[in-house]
């Protein structure tokens, strides 16, 4: 994993309206223990990550957004491999941040991901 590594984030269909993704998709939920789950883009393609997420893990994703390790680091959010759930798994670490700080960081990540655009959407996506 390098600074240029793309971190692949699956986006739930409910978190998209008219092509806009809510900032909530870029911050951990309470069960995530301050760790935002992503795929390591050096180890898996966006399309394969989507297939793994929706088929193997049986979770919902309307498409794949991405951030680089450097973009996260610029917000003081370290990213690192976390191969325990599966080999390509990685996390963006929000540890130690207040709810308000998580909200602000997630808006910065949201803006970067929206600027980049979808890096994978299934053919039947909106």
């Amino acid at each position: 994993m390098t600074g240029a590594t793309l971190l692949l984030r699956q986006i739930h269909p409910t978190f998209i309206q008219a092509g806009f993704t809510t900032s909530q998709a870029f911050r951990p939920t309470p069960k995530d223990d301050f760790k935002l789950s992503v795929y390591d883009g050096d180890q898996i393609t966006p399309e394969t990550s989507w297939i793994h997420y929706t088929t193997d893990l049986e979770l919902k994703s309307a498409g794949v957004a991405a951030l680089t390790v450097d973009e996260c680091a610029a917000e003081n959010l370290p990213a690192r491999p976390d191969p325990e759930p599966f080999p390509e798994h990685a996390i963006i670490d929000f540890a130690g941040l207040s709810a308000g700080q998580c909200q602000s960081k997630s808006k910065k990540l949201q803006a970067k991901a929206l600027d980049r655009g979808w890096i994978y959407q299934p053919s039947d996506a909106e």
Binding site: H12, Q17, A18, F20, S23, Q24, K60, A62, G100, A111
Partner: protein
Amino acid sequence: MSSETFLKSEAVGLDPLDVGARIEELKQLQPGWLDGEGVPLPHAGLEWLRAAFDQFYSSDLPLPYLFPTLTGDALAEWSLKPWSPSLEIDLVQHRGKWHALNLETDEEKTEEIDLTDIRGWDWLGAQLRTIAGRTG
């Protein structure tokens, strides 16, 4: 709710950000809507929100993107770069938590507002107009 059953406002010729249509979509959320997490949004609260938007939200303001939160609230977000404003709306207490972040300077503003009458909505409108003006 599955993505297949999620209504798409565009398909029926409405503004894709039409608040009423979006509220109908949000009513369809079932318990565990986010891969097992997520509380459904209270229908009475959503109807209050629809009525409040109709009554108090000026037509010259940009429509928000409207999302559910895991705890059963609604989150309104606007795309007004360089600002990223949002309002988390408590659908039971009818209060809002405003958060506006300038993505370039990190300037931040937060406020809790009462959305039970027009004063809170006027305050919201003033904030949005100021931000939209600053986006130039």
